[in-house]
Symmetry: C2
Subunit: 581 residues, 2 copies
Amino acid sequence: MKASQFFVSTLKEAPADAEVTSHKLMTRAGMIKKLGAGIYNYMPMGLRVIRKVENIVREEMNRAGAVELTMPVVQPAELWEESGRFSKMGPELLRLKDRHDRDFVMQPTSEEAITDIARQELRSYKQLPKNFYQIQTKFRDERRPRFGIMRGREFTMKDAYSFDRDQAAAKASYDVMRVAYRAIFDRFGLKYRAVAADSGAIGGDLSEEFQVIADTGEDALIYSTGSDYAANIELAEAVALIAARGAAKEALTKTPTPGKSTCADVATLLGLPLDRTVKSLVLATDELDDKGDVKKTTVWLLLLRGDHDMNEVKVGKIAGLKDGFRFATVGEIEDHFGCKPGYLGPIGLKKPVKVVSDRTVANMSDFVVGANELDFHLTGANWGRDFPEPDAVADIRNVVAGDPSPDGQGVLAIDRGIEVGHVFYLGTKYSKSMNATFLDETGKPQPFEMGCYGIGVTRIAAAAIEQNNDARGIIWPVALAPFTVVICPIGYDRNAEVKAAADKLHDELAAVGVDVMLDDRGERPGAMFADWELIGIPVRVVISDRGLKEGQLEVQGRREEKASTVALPDIVADVRARLAA
Amino acid sequence: MKASQFFVSTLKEAPADAEVTSHKLMTRAGMIKKLGAGIYNYMPMGLRVIRKVENIVREEMNRAGAVELTMPVVQPAELWEESGRFSKMGPELLRLKDRHDRDFVMQPTSEEAITDIARQELRSYKQLPKNFYQIQTKFRDERRPRFGIMRGREFTMKDAYSFDRDQAAAKASYDVMRVAYRAIFDRFGLKYRAVAADSGAIGGDLSEEFQVIADTGEDALIYSTGSDYAANIELAEAVALIAARGAAKEALTKTPTPGKSTCADVATLLGLPLDRTVKSLVLATDELDDKGDVKKTTVWLLLLRGDHDMNEVKVGKIAGLKDGFRFATVGEIEDHFGCKPGYLGPIGLKKPVKVVSDRTVANMSDFVVGANELDFHLTGANWGRDFPEPDAVADIRNVVAGDPSPDGQGVLAIDRGIEVGHVFYLGTKYSKSMNATFLDETGKPQPFEMGCYGIGVTRIAAAAIEQNNDARGIIWPVALAPFTVVICPIGYDRNAEVKAAADKLHDELAAVGVDVMLDDRGERPGAMFADWELIGIPVRVVISDRGLKEGQLEVQGRREEKASTVALPDIVADVRARLAA
């Protein structure tokens, strides 16, 4: 491809609304162009990247036995009413009406449509397992779209759905996708982690996120330094940091801590390490009557070590808190603790509360808690002696780096990541609500066991950039680069030998299947090099009059600080070797 | 590909709402599946056809120097207000609101979005010409979607837009697309016609439709048997069928024609040929005042030969009728003609009307017209002698088969066609309304001269079927077939030799790039053959135990009535020769 036949457009400045590197660089490199909030044109340079992502995904999905189809972007609301999502989903589901005032949605995913296909098409157990996928435009009406195509409203997603006869078969289909996803992400050439994720009410080890590692990622990825344990922060198990509770040694003592309402402040004031303090979090659960009015409210006290943070997903798994909880109001707190927040603790309560202790706190002794009195804390607090054993002991905190790995091998470390893929066992959620069944060997209708498997196609491009960039611009992995080699001739428009050599090298590389770009725009070398460094082409070959006379050209990898000189006859082989590396 | 790894699903019966062959066959062959009115899933078998169409379009567009990008499906209404289309377009433009109650549209085409890109990106004449295209989901909220994907609401279209510095350059870009479209349609392997189409107010020869020929087509395609003249019925020029007006020979005579209100009935009653009669059509135009109220109404009498039909597009080009016209009301007719419709004519009017004569009628003599009196006609009517010469003579009728070609070579014939492509010179309609300019050599801003070029990607599949089918099903041209060869083994699941031979042939054909399908489902031969004939695979190879023993297999083209026997070693070559033919 020659630049004059393509469309190269770079900007010196990033748009004012670009907050993250990928948004800035994709815009500056002429890959995307904003049309509206969270809605982007994919310019020719960017579209080439998207197509490369799509092709890798498509090849590996096909290889894994999945079959491609497409479902409409605009879908009738009736289907979404069957699953219940039409009313349950928030405003991120874009609802619209056609000219006849009928309700439709723009698909954010396609569980309903594929389940509708399955219930019509997959009639017998003999047709199972089946995995259908599409690479299709999706819409999610984000409240605050931002970060360019990282969190846009209109985007491209690959979504696959497996249909199986029972849980064991569904697990096998799930495992095929887990393996295929590894093949896909390996081919992208990105550093990534597959981490176990919360599988909601279903339980079991059947939810995994694929995260591209990047310092700018929003998600915390937990992994063990001593094993292949990996999970997201919602799921990563926090073990007790103290093996067994020690005997009480200190007397319970009330200490003034005026104005010190955080564990950190109290520890500093008292000259104690933060891990000797225990924080009190107060939640509430409401029991409703038939009319939906609150019949009864239960107040919960959660105890966490001062240096730990509560994990809401874990708390939501505790008996009594599963159906939803909220933070208690100040009124409820004063009513039960006789004190405002900041000085709360488990000792001397006005009214009974349910106490849940984190695993570590349950094994602590001689610790510091609030005195349930403004500007006072208690030191030397001990379970049993000073207050009752907890109603429940559970893992309710986020892990922190250095925690022991829950599998007993190594300690936990934390990466930042960008979620770009998710494999998930759905069970019969959709097949039961939409009455999607097949006939088993005995002729009895059975609901499908389903799995769903997503990859954010357009998001991959942004994540790749967050992971791979420098001050000069993007650094594409070879597999995703819009072009893998750029030929930069010096004086293409005025030096016949340079032009002939550039054209010849272009044709030679194209002939062996290299995605080569020849910059025939006649730009000055500095501007030309800067453009292609910004765009992030992996390999650059400079063709200059001097180089041709000396019989060797400058070849430079995008990550290299200096160019290598390569003899003319070896250029094609050298370039190919770099691309294969 | 093996059937067990793909998804083959056929139906004996077409859905009740399927009116046309392509809709019936695509549904029965498992290519599309309705999700809602005018909204379809593309099932795996159908999607393969769509991808083949897309790839041919993409390759030829790239070859013609156009550059691919994509514009969002959902577009902000602001842009559409700039062009005026947001208010001008009817309800076929699907309008929607996001969570913040902002207006959006789903793109039916993308003139606004591409013009917005051009005005930002194409700043200098040096960047021109440029042609951008996308292959993207479109939505048109048809009042009555029907005919399957022939006239669906959600569909895929390739739309290209050229940007040029002046009309001459725009014409050159237009011509590049005309040539590219011929290359695309040639590659589809469909019989098609490129016909000149009306270019609206712009004039000139810069609008051409690409029509797939099919008896079921909605459009009439006019072409000359003696030249390459071709146009759609709206544009095809109708010449005067009488070279010069003959002298009056008959006396004007009032004749009773009770109850005979059509030319055909009158001609039969009077024992005259239909081409001796002249029909009267009465139109009206309204002049409005500043408030939009009717200030003045003009009544028009159009005279056409009894066997000819009015062409509204041509009428709309006559001075005085360009800004819109309507059929006159019965009241207006009675007021001007003193008679109800059915017996109208140019003689003896009550009030003045503007008379427009078709070219042929202007040269007629001694003809029959209505007497402006209920149940009476006049014979022997003659221009000048009996009523004044017309205010205008114009081509206002549809051509009919057998008319002389307007270029003087041969006569006109008519095919039926399905419009699947359109190339069109837009001029500065969008660039002026959206203030999209580039700087010319003198640094002065100039509006872009634009062209637009569409291909109905999904519609191509339906049109191909309308053209190519028989009682057994679809007959795909090789270029569009989901698979080009199907191997039908008899007893794949129980005969090891058959299985081995089938697998071997599959692998050999796949290795040389043939899109081969091996039916390993174990269906009975009759059902298996019927499935693939319905689906329309161009070549079938049957692998049977007997065939293997005899060393020759049955190979049959989809259009052939009988199979040929081909020696085993020659199968691959034979199949490839059939596909290349």
